[in-house]
């Protein structure tokens, strides 16, 4: 384990180098020594040292500070410990300013060195763990996780790659369940903001005042219950990306506030008097036709153009039916391992049935359907039988007459009925209706349904 953290000792005195190296080798480290700066740089180019002990005073050629600065240039990750025989405040300050992590006066207590080395390595271990985890996280959202062979989707993926490192606002349009958030994540995690926060705000789920404090934060005493200052999502996303889902649902006042943030990159916290400046990339999504909303006067035209710098329109699943078998196989693999089920795949007939289905809830609906089928499946393969309920749901029940009412009223009744069946549970009702929660909230608002 310790062998993974090689150490370099640089000192013109051979006794000092060798005795120090011997002492560290007893602790299990791989240690190299160098009698001067030149040799140290040569070694640093060849090996990735975790720690370099560098003597401050070395006669002739490079001194300790110069050596340290050069090592730092070659190996910015290496921790450098400056060794000196005489403690002077000036040199200590200079060494630390030039990037030394520690400064020790020889001879020092064995315990001091031992603790110093283990403290630095503990930090390094955490740093490398962190880097590995970040890499894993980034990998989760790489483009190839969007499963498709549809030419239009492939064009969209190429576009997300092109725009990933820009700061321009992206507007993603698409029906519920088409994967708008997945595309937003793909944009964020393949760009230069990947190691910064990606913050999601579902605009439809919150009331105007809640959304305002959610987005911009608030000062202590801004309203009853604001007992301390709180940062909003824009501040939390600083340096990274904010994803505003269901942007078509925000009020006129919030539209104005948002426009200001997009124009000036600054805002006030609720109840605040000091401006907060942020560097945030905005990705917005909606299932509405914002251009129509603008014409109807429901959405500000200037905000629409600010948001619509780069537009990505995701096709519904029924327009990319060739992806259904790929997606279905993918969900079977993923969900069956999550559920601990030993299901290998889907039969031809079942696939045909899935391809023929209309998928109003898009990819999310397909995922839910596969999960439901897997839960009840008792064979090694999903068959037509496992999806029989889907066909029933699709077909028009016998003897059911469509009442003579506007379409909106039909939708309202369906929602009320679903809520009643699910005892007011919005999550379950939305999944039964094949729409997502925020869409259901939006419809509840529109039809003024209280639940």
């Amino acid at each position: 384990m310790k062998k993974n953290w090689p150490i370099l000792v640089v000192d013109d005195e051979e006794v000092m180098c060798e005795s120090m190296a011997a002492w560290l080798r007893e602790d299990g480290y791989h240690v190299d020594t160098a009698p001067n700066g030149q040799k140290a740089l040569e070694l640093a180019r060849a090996a990735d040292y975790a720690i370099c002990f560098v003597d401050l005073k070395m006669p002739g050629g490079m001194d300790g500070i110069e050596t340290m600065m050069e090592i730092h240039r070659i190996r910015p990750e290496a921790s450098i410990i400056i060794i000196t025989a005489y403690a002077t405040v000036d040199t200590a300050i200079q060494a630390m300013k030039e990037g030394a992590q520690e400064y020790i006066v020889k001879p020092c207590n064995p315990q001091e060195i031992s603790m110093l080395v283990s403290r630095i390595l503990k930090l390094k271990k955490l740093q490398s763990e962190n880097a590995i985890l970040r890499k894993k996280l980034t990998r989760q959202y790489r483009h190839h996780d969007v499963i498709t062979k549809n030419p239009r989707m492939e064009e969209i993926l190429a576009l997300t790659q092109e725009v990933s490192s820009l700061r321009s606002t992206v507007l993603i349009r698409g029906e519920s369940g088409t994967g708008k958030e997945l595309i937003a994540r793909a944009v964020h995690f393949s760009g230069n903001r990947a190691d910064k926060p990606f913050i999601v705000v579902s605009c439809a789920a919150l009331t105007e005042t809640l959304l305002e404090s959610e987005l911009f934060g608030y000062e202590k005493g801004a309203f009853t219950g604001a007992t301390a200052q709180a940062k909003g999502k824009f501040e939390l996303a600083n340096g990274g990306t904010i994803f505003l889902d269901e942007i078509g649902d925000i009020s006129a006042k919030l539209q104005a506030d948002l426009l200001r943030v997009l124009q000036e990159r600054r805002f006030y916290r609720v109840g605040g008097t000091q401006e907060v400046e942020v560097d945030v990339r905005v990705i917005a999504a909606t299932n509405k036709n914002l251009a129509e909303e603008v014409q109807d006067g429901a959405f500000r035209e200037d905000l629409y153009y600010r948001l619509n710098v780069i537009e990505i329109r995701l096709p519904p699943l029924r327009e990319r039916r060739e992806d259904i078998p790929l997606l279905a196989e993918h969900f079977v693999q993923r969900i069956s391992s999550e559920l601990g089920k030993d299901v290998a795949g889907i039969s031809e007939d079942a696939l045909k049935m899935l391809i023929a289905h209309d998928w109003p809830g898009n990819v999310r609906e397909l995922e839910n359907v596969i999960e439901r089928a897997l839960v009840t499946c008792h064979n090694g393969n999903l068959s037509e039988q496992d999806f029989s309920w889907l066909q029933h749901g699709n077909a028009q029940p016998e003897g059911w007459e469509v009442p003579d009412v506007p379409l909106g009223e039909l939708e309202r009744r369906a929602i009320v009925a679903a809520l009643e069946r699910k005892h007011g549970n919005v999550k379950e009702a939305s999944s039964a209706l094949g729409i997502d929660r925020s869409t259901l909230y939006d419809k509840l608002k529109r039809y003024q349904i209280t639940h």
Binding site: V15, M20, G28, I83, K106
Partner: protein, 180 residues
């Protein structure tokens, strides 16, 4: 052939080599021989620090080692140090033929307390096993009671047992079984 040699450097307490011989016989399947004492090496004394440079002791041990010695452990009563560290309980060539142990800071007297021979014996044995362990390729052990754990002050020496932990002991056995 392949002896483990013990040698006093300068004056050391009368029984020190005997204590070490008894303890090492348990762990190392090698004939043990006590060599005639050696003098404190010239030039080892650092007047500025009032201590002795350990490296000079190691060099002398390498020079004077009998040709049939597998390992040579020097034992001294003077205070050892290296340029970087303020003191050492001992030093070894990692996986090499020589090591040295200083008894200076193992005496209770060093800490202003009345001398206690039994405690000196225990500490001497622990440090001798520790340095010899290094010469046979053992690195510091994370088990605080193992003779191979790193002691940077006397309390940590006292926390150790007079033997290796199971893991370190097994490594030694395996090494000897391989005939190294």
């Amino acid at each position: 052939m392949n002896e483990l040699c013990l040698v006093a450097i300068g004056n050391v307490p009368g029984n020190a080599l005997q204590w070490i011989e008894n303890a090492t016989a348990e762990w190392f399947p090698l004939p043990i021989r006590c060599l005639p004492s050696l003098p404190i090496p010239n030039g080892a004394y650092d007047a500025k620090r009032g201590q002795y440079q350990s490296v000079e002791f190691m060099k002398m041990l390498v020079r004077s080692a009998p040709p049939d010695a597998s390992r040579v452990l020097g034992v001294t009563d003077v205070d050892l140090a290296i340029p970087m560290l303020s003191f050492l309980f001992g030093q070894a060539q990692f996986d090499g033929p020589v090591a040295v142990v200083s008894l200076c800071r193992l005496h209770q007297q060093f800490y202003g307390l009345p001398e206690q021979e039994s405690l000196l014996r225990e500490r001497t044995v622990k440090e001798a096993l520790h340095e010899l362990g290094h010469t046979f390729g053992l690195v510091h052990c994370s088990e605080p009671t193992c003779a191979m754990s790193l002691a940077t002050h006397i309390e940590l020496v006292d926390a150790k047992a007079e033997h290796y932990c199971e893991r370190c002991g097994l490594k030694l056995v395996q090494r000897f079984a391989r005939g190294e």
